[in-house]
Amino acid sequence: MAVQGVMWVEKYRPRTLGDMVGQENVLGSLLAFVKKPADMPHLLFTGSPGIGKTTAAVCLSRSILGDSWRDNTLELNASDERGIGMVRERIKKFSKFVGIGDIPFKVIILDEADEMTADAQTALRRIIEDAAAYCRFIIIANNISKIIAPIQSRCAVFRFTSVPKECVTERLAEIAKSEKAKFVSEGIDTIYEYSNGDLRHAINTMQAAAALDGGINKANAKKAAGITKSSAVDEILKLALAGKVAQARDSVIELLRVYGMSGADILRNLNMAVNRASYDNAIDIVRIISEYDYRILVGASPEIQLSAMLYELGALGSK
């Protein structure tokens, strides 16, 4: 079977805006665009990972464009594209012709736009203008502060908020029921705690836990939550603080270069790992992390900066 039919995260992805959980404020405005598409400007969705930005964009596109939505929607992920030139080419090709069928415009979903450099975003601004005759953009970013002002000003900005716990656990229980999986509410609560509000992660965790002996209980949830590669970051932090810097560094480089995790993502997870654990010198640790996060942000090499950070964490631990 195709992967999208097997993985619950895709099988149960909402198909309409009405199916989504949380985001009441945002959804109201988006539904208005569905009623009157002509009024829809370019949109910018921001908010933390796994709370429904991409899903909302796809739902919106499907609702407005109807049956032909797939042909008239271009999904691009900025973190995958090799440079702004590629983005320009793909958008140019896609936006050259009026859409097929009775549709108000075509939709271009540009995910992870905050991964683009300021220069690339400046070029994007022009691309948006050129394509605007036939297309509407939905630009998605975790971090709006990394989107340059001219692009923000060309879009209506929607801030997605984290989904409340009850909404998440309720949705998880629904999925578990319809999959006829064995579950206890304590298991689902544990999944929520480990997910940091990321629904994709929560649903993946639940599917793996359900496959384990005993179904979705606390122990299995814990085990399953650790499957994600980002959980390696907890171990990396422990290793570094214990002075095992070489080992920690190998793991970081594996995440960066084998799994393609971004430096920013590693640091975000590292910061969460510090918050989860209770270190006496947590403030010193966070200070070090923040320093290197900044360095990567101004254009330094993630591998060198993360390595230097690990050495510094190791030196901190050896005091």
């Binding site: 079977m1 195709a2 993985m7 999904e75 793996a208 399953a224 799994y259 050495y311």
Partner: protein, 387 residues
């Protein structure tokens, strides 16, 4: 006053080196008539291209209208300079157009300027001399085609020596013979560089003689860096390195990372210096403020600690990890590219967040998915890594 300016030759006869080409250029101007191709002087810096052009003009009674690469910003600016001279002789005698740094003009994104320049070459009603360090680039092709090329070579050491001694004599300065040899060999056939070096020595400075051209491979330079006796010596080792600046940073980084016996706190301090240099590099690339480059070696030199005997290492990770990056990394990328879009996920998001769960479910027998055969190996390999 700088010697390189005050001793700029007053006549062609006073010049040093390139005798034959100078004579050819003189013939070119002496026989110039409307329709003669412009002259393009190509040669390394400091061999007398600019001096030759200006002296030639004045000896043949032309007044020079100079254009520098920085003037060629736009077509209208160029026309403003050139229009008055393209017609008749001015008060100061007929004009000669001299375009310096011609290889720098095309490099700018000013198409108008480049277009106007080729127009001058084709339609000039007065003699045109261009000077450039190199004619090898694609951008120079049109100019080369439209002109007669005169090549200046480096001035040979023997001539430099004769010239230098004469100038020192006129200045009443004595410099030891060893230093003179140093100056000549360091200046590499560049008269201007030789003057500048000699003048610094004469005034009691002892400038760093190593110049940017460098003469060490990354391995030699970084070995010299860690083997240096002082931070200053270490910095000089860096300055002498040939090649990409990125290689300096990554060479020192990978050597420290690969060093076996290194006290953690000391290593952290050294890494911090590499991190500083790397951040500076990132800023330079981002802002294109290349003048900041001059601080890079000093920042990197802070990574120096004496007597550690750190060997040079080209790679920052072990072989097994390097292989894993190369093979598994590419296989995962291909797998993510084929499956990720079905989950609306980027490659990275797929590899970190979705793939491990898909593999876990397959492993636990809770799911079966159809994938192309090419991904079977990596699925098996990565499944084994899941606990």
């Amino acid at each position: 006053m700088m010697w390189s300016e005050s001793y700029r030759p007053k006549s062609i006869g006073e010049m040093v080196g390139n005798e034959k080409v100078r004579a050819e250029l003189a013939t070119w101007l002496a026989t110039w008539k409307k329709g003669t191709k412009p002259a393009l002087i190509v040669g390394p810096p400091g061999t007398g291209k600019t001096t030759m052009a200006t002296l030639l003009a004045s000896q043949f009674g032309y007044s020079v209208v100079g254009i520098n690469a920085s003037d060629v910003r736009s077509k209208s600016r160029l026309n403003e300079i050139l229009e008055p001279v393209m017609g008749n002789a001015g008060l100061a005698g007929p004009a000669l157009i001299f375009v310096d740094e011609a290889d720098g003009i095309h490099g700018r994104s000013d198409y108008g300027g480049a277009g106007a320049l080729s127009l001058i070459l084709k339609q000039a009603t007065v003699p045109v001399i261009l000077a450039a360090n190199s004619d090898a680039s694609d951008k120079m092709r049109a100019i080369v085609k439209a002109s007669t090329v005169f090549r200046f070579g480096k001035v040979p050491p023997r001539l430099l020596g004769v010239y230098l001694k004469e100038i020192l004599g006129r200045q009443g300065v004595t410099i030891g013979p060893g230093t003179i040899i140093n100056i000549i060999s360091e200046s590499r056939g560049d008269i201007r560089a030789m003057f500048n070096l000699a003048q610094s020595f004469a005034h009691g400075f002892s400038p760093e003689v190593a110049r940017t051209e460098g003469y060490k491979t990354p391995e030699e330079a970084i070995t010299a860096f860690f083997g240096a006796g002082s931070r200053d010596e270490a910095r000089r080792a860096l300055e002498s390195m040939r090649g990409d600046i990125r290689e300096k940073i990554s060479g020192i980084y990978s050597s420290i990372a690969s060093a076996k016996t290194l006290d953690l706190r000391r290593a952290a301090k050294m890494m911090r210096a590499v991190s500083d240099a790397d951040m500076l590099h990132g800023r330079i690339m981002r802002t294109q403020q290349w003048r900041l480059l001059r601080y890079l070696d000093a920042l990197l030199a802070s990574a120096f600690e004496p007597k550690l005997g750190i060997p040079y290492s080209k790679f920052s990770v072990s072989w097994p990890l390097l292989n894993r990056i190369r093979w598994d990394g590419n296989a995962i990328k291909a797998f993510a590219e084929s499956v990720g879009p079905h989950l609306h996920a980027s490659r990275s998001e797929f590899a970190v967040l979705h793939m491990p769960y898909i593999l876990a479910c397959i492993k636990l027998g809770a799911a079966e998915i159809d994938v192309e055969d090419e991904h079977a190996d990596i699925i098996k390999k990565e499944s084994e890594r899941i606990k």
